[in-house]
């Protein structure tokens, strides 16, 4: 069974997913960060494949991608770093990247490698639904690699249904139309999250973009199955001057989760 499905079978609320950019802050931090996140009891991790021109990302993730590429990160190197990751990491892992990098690697080879390593899911925000259906859907299904589409407040109801149908694992609900890392007050978005919940979709859904503290995490989780935190964690990693990724990660996760643990 895919680890994402196992996770949602076990836990339907407050699922915490954390994003980080592979190769940042240091080229070979990938495994160390994964271990730190798992030890901090994060439920799932999104590993960002750095890209030179990340259109959906705000300045923080752009900067981390640039630094990762300057450090020498590539998809091939990332796969090498992850080769035996399943010896120590047991939480679900998702790769987040832009379609050009995957296309150059070769879609089938990419999916084969994901399956070999034990990658559970994919998010490629600039891959159109049509292309996915024709080029990737069955290849993903054969390898039990899930694929999550994004929806936004602008996505029409029929399209939400179509994207939910094509997705597996979970649906990624973008908190408002924006690039990543815009801090915002999510209270105004509650009707939107509630509407999604009431649609009774096939997949669980996670809310992402702009979640940066316990308050926004809580708001994002009210009607959803959980939330994704990205830029705020990258910012915390930027500030690791003593290279103590473990402590920073532990503190960061505690900061995001604390009020939740007492509220729910």
């Amino acid at each position: 069974m895919n680890r994402i499905d196992e996770l949602f079978a076990r836990k339907q609320k407050n699922v915490l997913t954390i994003y980080f950019t592979a190769g940042f802050p240091q080229l070979h931090d990938t495994r160390r960060i994964l271990k730190a996140l798992q030890d901090a009891e994060v439920d799932m991790v999104e590993i960002g494949i750095p890209f030179s021109d990340p259109l959906a990302d705000g300045p923080v993730i752009q900067q981390s991608s640039k630094q990762a590429l300057d450090n020498g990160m590539s998809l091939r190197l990332l796969f090498n770093q992850l080769r035996d990751v399943r010896r120590e990491i047991h939480i679900p892992l998702i790769l987040f990247g832009y379609v050009n990098v995957v296309m150059q690697f070769g879609i089938e080879r990419f999916l084969d490698t994901c399956a070999e390593i034990g990658i559970d899911g994919l998010i490629l925000p600039d891959l159109p639904l049509d292309e996915f259906t024709h080029e990737m859907a069955s290849l993903c299904a054969d390898r039990q690699v899930h694929f999550s589409f994004l929806i936004t407040p602008e996505t029409s109801e029929p399209r939400i249904r179509a994207l939910d149908e094509a997705s597996s694992g979970f649906l990624y609900v973008v908190s408002s139309s924006s690039t990543t890392g815009k801090r915002k007050d999510l209270s105004a978005m509650q009707p939107y999250f509630q509407r999604i919940q009431q649609m009774q979709l096939k997949n669980p859904f996670l809310v992402g973009f702009g979640i940066h503290d316990s308050m926004s995490f809580q708001q994002a989780c009210q009607y959803s199955n959980g939330a994704v935190v990205g830029s705020a964690y990258i910012r915390a990693l930027q500030e690791v001057h003593d290279r103590n990724v473990e402590r920073v990660t532990r503190d960061f996760v505690a900061y995001i989760l604390q009020p939740i643990r007492s509220t729910f």
């Binding site: 021109d53 998809l75 379609v99």
Partner: protein, 419 residues
């Protein structure tokens, strides 16, 4: 001379629905294997709205009337087709210059921005964003925004703001906010990234006026249609001047490829016409400082479109280089990728130096200072093996005012007057 846009067999292309031809975009937004709409969901609604409405809006009689009227009375179309006598003598063929440099704002870019601002109004948009390289598209966008009283934000690479400073000043005077793009090589690609991100963050009220035949479907087709007025006029003007609508060669420079798309458009199905597109080779194709996409690129996705793209094995986009800010782009529009792949058009490359030489030559022979971009097209006249019976049209996409700093820096000795 007055050209009635609706005369003869060359009624404006934008009136017609794309006829399914091998060089027209298909219903999925592809030219052969190139094109599509590789956009994040945040842009889906806006791009889908555009896709569903652009052809209908462009065919409305009222739209047509306003568009053609503005092109005539505001832009100054038709732009002359000028038989360049001394240039013709030098190269031994009849060489015509399509004078897009004489348009209001000084380049072909305004044909597209007039069309898109009228479209944006009909879509109920209040705010306009654009990217710009040489600043010509930014100026053309700021101009139509001033004309229509709309808010205008232009993204421009910080390096380009330095090398095309006069255009930054013009945009500001026209009321546009010019925001420097600081990432990457701080040029056109990076400005386009920032414009797309702005659109992601403003999905409600904003229309993105893309400046070339790039971006997600329907942009490449829409921009090509607005620019197709160039070849519609060429045909009619050639008929009057030579007795035949068809030249033997059409040359145009390619950054994203909009002036070339416009100059080629009505000749695409006439295979007797050689279509020649000229890319920027910068300091040399293999110098590592170049923007020669068809030579150095492979299929990939940039700015929402699958096309030829300069990139590393890992799929990272390579920072291009050209002395000319308008050609300094690591991709080309998907129509051009298709024309290249099918062999319908020939893609040549001109270095910075060749372009400079051609600019000085045109200035000396014809008294016309071309934009550095357009000079790339002129630079390939010498490579064409021309014959006296050849009728060559060069799309002079813009004028060189914005490039004076660069030209003065590279001025050949014989141009330097004694003080």
């Amino acid at each position: 001379m007055s050209i009635e846009y609706r005369v003869g067999g060359i009624a404006p292309s934008i009136l017609r629905l794309a006829k399914p031809g091998q060089y027209q975009v298909d219903e999925k937004g592809y030219y052969g294997q190139f094109g599509g709409a590789f956009i994040p969901e945040m842009l889906y609604r806006n791009v889908a709205e555009l896709r569903e409405k652009y052809l209908t809006i462009m065919q409305e009689p009222e739209f047509q009337r306003e568009f053609t009227q503005l092109l005539r009375d505001y832009v100054g179309r038709p732009s002359p087709l000028y038989l360049a006598r001394r240039l013709s003598e030098k190269y031994g063929a009849q060489i015509f210059l399509k004078r897009e440099d004489l348009n209001h704002t000084g380049a072909h870019k305004i044909n597209n921005t007039i069309g898109q601002i009228l479209l944006a109004q009909r879509l109920g948009k209040k705010r306009i964003i654009a990217e710009t390289g040489a600043g010509q598209h930014g100026v053309a966008t700021a101009t139509v925004c001033a004309l229509m009283g709309m808010e205008c934000v232009v993204y421009m690479g910080e390096l380009d703001m330095q090398r095309q400073a006069p255009n930054v000043a013009r945009m500001r005077m026209l009321g546009a906010q010019v925001i420097p793009a600081m990432s990457g090589s701080r040029t056109l690609k990076d400005a386009t990234n920032e414009a797309i991100r702005d659109w992601v963050n403003h999905p409600e009220d904003t229309h993105y006026i893309i400046g070339s035949v790039v971006g997600p479907h329907p942009y490449p087709d829409m921009v090509a249609r607005f620019q197709s007025v160039i070849s519609a006029e060429i045909r009619q003007q050639l008929l009057e001047k030579t007795g035949s609508e068809l030249p033997t060669h059409v040359l145009a420079c390619v950054g994203g490829g909009s002036n070339a798309a416009g100059a080629f458009y009505h000749f695409l199905d006439h295979i007797s016409v050689q279509l020649i597109a000229v890319e920027a080779a910068g300091e040399g194709i293999n110098s590592g400082r170049s923007a020669a996409t068809t030579v150095l690129g492979r299929p990939g996705v940039i700015h929402g479109s699958k096309t030829l793209l300069m990139q590393t094995d890992d799929g990272q986009i390579i920072e291009p280089y050209s002395l000319s800010a308008g050609l300094d782009y690591p991709g080309i529009g998907p129509l051009h990728a298709h024309l290249h792949q099918t062999g319908r058009a020939t893609y040549l490359q001109a270095t910075d130096q060749e372009a400079l030489d051609a600019a000085f030559e045109l200035t000396q022979l014809e008294g016309i200072i071309p934009a550095l971009e357009s000079a790339h097209a002129l630079a390939k006249l010498k490579d064409l093996e021309l014959k006296p019976e050849h009728v060559v049209v060069v799309c002079l996409s813009g004028r060189g005012d914005k490039d004076m700093d660069t030209y003065l820096r590279y001025l050949p000795k014989e141009f330097r007057t004694e003080i």
